[in-house]
Point group: D2
Chain length 397, copies 4
Amino acid sequence: MRYSTSGGTLLRNVQPLFADLWGGGFAIAHNGNLTNARALRSDLVRQGAIFQSTSDTETILQLTARSQKLNTVERFIDALRQIEGAYSLVVLTNKKLIGVRDPLGIRPLVLGTLAGAPILASETVALDIIGADYVRDVEPGEMIVATKDGIESLHPFPPQRPRPCVFEYIYFARPDSQFGGHSVYNVRKALGAQLAAESNVEADVVVPVPDSGVPAAIGYARASGIPFELGIIRNHYVGRTFIEPTQQIRALGVKLKHNANRAVVEGKRIILVDDSIVRGTTSVKIVKMMYEAGAREVHMRIASPPITHPDFYGIDTPEQEQLLAANYDLEGMRAYIGVDSLAFITVDGLYRALGYEGRDPVYPQFTDHCFTGDYPTPLTDKNGTQRHQLSLLAEIA
Amino acid sequence: MRYSTSGGTLLRNVQPLFADLWGGGFAIAHNGNLTNARALRSDLVRQGAIFQSTSDTETILQLTARSQKLNTVERFIDALRQIEGAYSLVVLTNKKLIGVRDPLGIRPLVLGTLAGAPILASETVALDIIGADYVRDVEPGEMIVATKDGIESLHPFPPQRPRPCVFEYIYFARPDSQFGGHSVYNVRKALGAQLAAESNVEADVVVPVPDSGVPAAIGYARASGIPFELGIIRNHYVGRTFIEPTQQIRALGVKLKHNANRAVVEGKRIILVDDSIVRGTTSVKIVKMMYEAGAREVHMRIASPPITHPDFYGIDTPEQEQLLAANYDLEGMRAYIGVDSLAFITVDGLYRALGYEGRDPVYPQFTDHCFTGDYPTPLTDKNGTQRHQLSLLAEIA
Amino acid sequence: MRYSTSGGTLLRNVQPLFADLWGGGFAIAHNGNLTNARALRSDLVRQGAIFQSTSDTETILQLTARSQKLNTVERFIDALRQIEGAYSLVVLTNKKLIGVRDPLGIRPLVLGTLAGAPILASETVALDIIGADYVRDVEPGEMIVATKDGIESLHPFPPQRPRPCVFEYIYFARPDSQFGGHSVYNVRKALGAQLAAESNVEADVVVPVPDSGVPAAIGYARASGIPFELGIIRNHYVGRTFIEPTQQIRALGVKLKHNANRAVVEGKRIILVDDSIVRGTTSVKIVKMMYEAGAREVHMRIASPPITHPDFYGIDTPEQEQLLAANYDLEGMRAYIGVDSLAFITVDGLYRALGYEGRDPVYPQFTDHCFTGDYPTPLTDKNGTQRHQLSLLAEIA
Amino acid sequence: MRYSTSGGTLLRNVQPLFADLWGGGFAIAHNGNLTNARALRSDLVRQGAIFQSTSDTETILQLTARSQKLNTVERFIDALRQIEGAYSLVVLTNKKLIGVRDPLGIRPLVLGTLAGAPILASETVALDIIGADYVRDVEPGEMIVATKDGIESLHPFPPQRPRPCVFEYIYFARPDSQFGGHSVYNVRKALGAQLAAESNVEADVVVPVPDSGVPAAIGYARASGIPFELGIIRNHYVGRTFIEPTQQIRALGVKLKHNANRAVVEGKRIILVDDSIVRGTTSVKIVKMMYEAGAREVHMRIASPPITHPDFYGIDTPEQEQLLAANYDLEGMRAYIGVDSLAFITVDGLYRALGYEGRDPVYPQFTDHCFTGDYPTPLTDKNGTQRHQLSLLAEIA
């Protein structure tokens, strides 16, 4: 029996936790983020739990350890019923491989098979890499329990309308992954095409911000008929080699990740395509690099709506006050980034690229909280007033 | 406020544990060994505790975390009342330095002072090294609680007759330490003198096994009038330098720790003085080295009685079947070690070197379980039949 | 005064050597490879030189140390006149920064400037990254000597017709670099367009082998009108993360570097564009991956002529017997790689993409030895019969 | 064939150098120090030699590499005839093991045998540790050449009267070593007895400074009839454990190496015996420690004459201005160290402990330059005015 929770991206490369519970060894890996972990932790510590880490995953482990249910699966379910947020979890015990996806299916989880053994992974690309075959997506709220006798499917939660995270398609998942019936690459090309349909402009070349902007730029270029060119080259080795030790050289203005391809940029009107804008700091640098390399005009086109709200479900976003779109209107953002024009895809355009007429205002097909502020779960820790912060500095009693 | 639990020997160099308990940060260091830690741990795990280590010290930590008493000191006492065995413990919280010695005082603990701050240490020599002044021994069963307001002395256990471990004087403590009103060095010299009185033999030189046998050899030489000579030299640097990587050179018969001083040994009748014999393997090698360097006779004299029983209180002894004195009578041991004669100090002789008439058969003044099998506490883990061994290989439920 | 010999690629990331010579400290970095280093080394050792490394760069250092000329620059020139092969060298002494390019200019070397200080680098992209301005290419056979008083240009060799290495344009240099008056990116696109002109085939998509095949594939797609698609995705993080420790998982058939983008490939006729074929082993794997992902046809198009001869000037090629094109004719290669069709660009097509009518048969504009066997320098070490191999195992006298 | 140049002390734990010379691989290890290495190095660098280290041993290697003699042994002898100073050298080539001792025999070198193979070592104790048998001392000026065909003895230097270094007996060699017909341990005891005969004083205990002063203290105690006691205990583990990271604790006045044994010292008149005084800084600390532990009187007795001159032959002494005896007369030293009385052994007393009537003023039996300033070789580097210091900062030409 083998397992993998590692999807194709570094962000998803989670560190499993292990504990020797009463029922036997219990290893758990977690993709996602809980929204009531701090509140639960506070209660657990009051009852005598000793935490080894600051990870929200350990809260699940402690809840499982403490459950007085009869067997491991029931103890684990007992724990799951207390947590809120986004989670795809994989558990390995001596006799079982367990996978579970949160009731809304915010994060993905897929089931594969290799040499007769079940495999669980965040994305299909992880199956491809180890040569496993894709079987199906684990459903929102579904628990898979695999033993040597086969696979069982449980549904330990009350049914809800699924709301998978739309950010997986925009940025988070690998382009060669497929889930929810979509190819991520094709969705991104469709986002680029939709963007061209919504806000094209006359220009000489379409230039992607590598690597994340490439599929949308291909889609944009094809829809608009403007040539696709690599106007920015990634510095693959810079971070790891001669730059590192040299605070001094760094201060000279080193461009750590990207370099302009002057032969493409010089004297040209450029449509710069990126997947999203978060703080805007990278965009400022790249745009500056384009002008310094001789660009005549730079038109920025973003294959997602403006990000006005932070994520609390496992995507690494800053606090709201640092989000560019939470601070500026469109013209303000354009001026900040310093481009000739700036446009984002519309929210309905985003849903259209995914094959819908538009966003269902009553039951949105996805969670799109970063663009709408419509969070699909309670935000207990964020809103809690208690927020007891454990610390060495306080001796309570 | 500063603390140190590190006595003068490497064995006592314990690793503190830390946890963020409900009452605040709690660091604990432990010299000694519990005899019911495994039984307690089994119960704790059943209730949901997750252990981070295999250390018995963590059992104390988990018991403290789980106590529902009102404050840190009471929770700690609650934990102590459940444990059995030998322990000198030092705890540091944000506001308190706590030291406690087990009810029998098996392991030592001393209180010192430096620049007005209290210091706790296993031995006085640790105070000397950091330039602190000795105040007094912490009493068996006493708990010291030091805060910025001063030092408080608690006695949380029912009173018992103390039984400090006699092995501290024989081997475990540094010779320049003092406790229980004795200089360790002087006790060791007295053991050598007593040994000479009990079992002297005609010879040319008294040779100590360095470094542990030196004080007893000085006492023996002075009592017997036979000259003290360094017939064995320690190889201080061997272990760390050119020998290490060379399995091959090792096989050539390298003497890792000692070398004979041929100028002293050759043609001589030698009285070889050591503090104790455990397995006997080192003695065999040293005696062989003496004969190879030309010794005419080798008479071995041991400044402790035969070790017939293992220790369970923090001294690193092998299981009983590996103890030489548990397997052979005196003549058998003499033949195994290959000496011309062999003698141990008597049990009463041991007590006489400590200033008593002999061993009090009803209330022995020390615990001397290694020589007598008279263990002063229950041996719950050793005798327990349950012995549930937690393991990855077992999934119970 | 600052210097950098590190171009944009890892291969060019050379390790400088340093020695304390009679004239003072002397640091040297070398991009390229000598073809008579072994013969020179043998003579030097016979005269008493002690080598610290196996690097051919040290041979230059030892020759410089031993020269009896009057000053550092003359001693260095004395050394250079004895060496053969390809070299761009950068030397730093206490007072001078020296750069020199071999008489044929096989490897590139560019001069830049930053805050008034001269900068030497293999490629212009290194200047871009640190924010320096490009001044000019160092000429073949030219030596630049920079001091605080300014820059001097020397020409210590008899003039020769330059023959820069054409492989820089095909594969070795970064696409965003420019030298010899060409943009590397534009040359690669032109190679792709020329390839389409020479050997196009009916198909659904043009798929690059990432990252090296991307510019040629863009050129090919545009010239042929067939859509450019990312049918292969690089596994950026695989090598560094969860695959590493697992010999066992590796054996499952892990694809270490690439993954097929099934959404692009399935059911399609594919033109697969790569920059070159060396051993052919990677091509075999990638083609297999395409068919397994559902490709209906795979047509391989290579943006360089067949590599029939090894390089001896600093590009890491295997020995001749391992070069695919040295062992098979075109049909044999096609069958080995397992594609529906295979075509390489012609030698004259290569020169056309660089702006010439074709290869000048008398004075070729570049060195193209890997495709023609026409090596521009003697290959002393390769052809030498003496080849004295220094070794611990031989004691000559 | 095996070799060892490592004697029993850490100082002698030399790092071998290796080079791939024209004649084959050549490894060399060196105990001692050259007095003209810097002058020779300067010439070698001028001729083009590149040094890898600052070691004087490399000078011998470079001279050997550069010799144009016919074979390895002759080239090595050619090198030796140019060097001055103290050296015991061991060389290993593919076919030969070579040992050589400088013409005066300043440093020791012994020949042993193990399983039929020759062994070379600085001291006999190294033979003991690996189980080899001692054969004989290598003579001053003798070269041993061992091959598979046996051992040859060469005498490549003009004969001179030997002057082995007397410091080996006083401090440098291990006590369990023997050479020149003497047991080092017995010489040290004799030094202690001679010291008692020359300058005894009424006291209660004789206390050695461990470990180096122990044999002399045993000799002193026996000659004087005053009891030998361990009044100072070494802190074996301090350096390696809890003290290290704590600049802060260090500042508290930690005694890094020694601790007073109060039970021996308190209220006593003490004769403190040490092997030598160099800077005097350690003596000051130890004496202070004795008084703080309650000593009533401290009388210091040193088993060597005052050190007035630095060593240049491999013993690590400071420059002359830092030697206590070069700055103070006896009373000044007594006051500086802060003892009740201070006495050193006389120079003639030193020779008497070694079995002579006294020092032969015409042909001294040993080199005793540290006590007399009578250096047995030229001090070329020390006296040279040229002293060309190679450096990065100077560019000569």
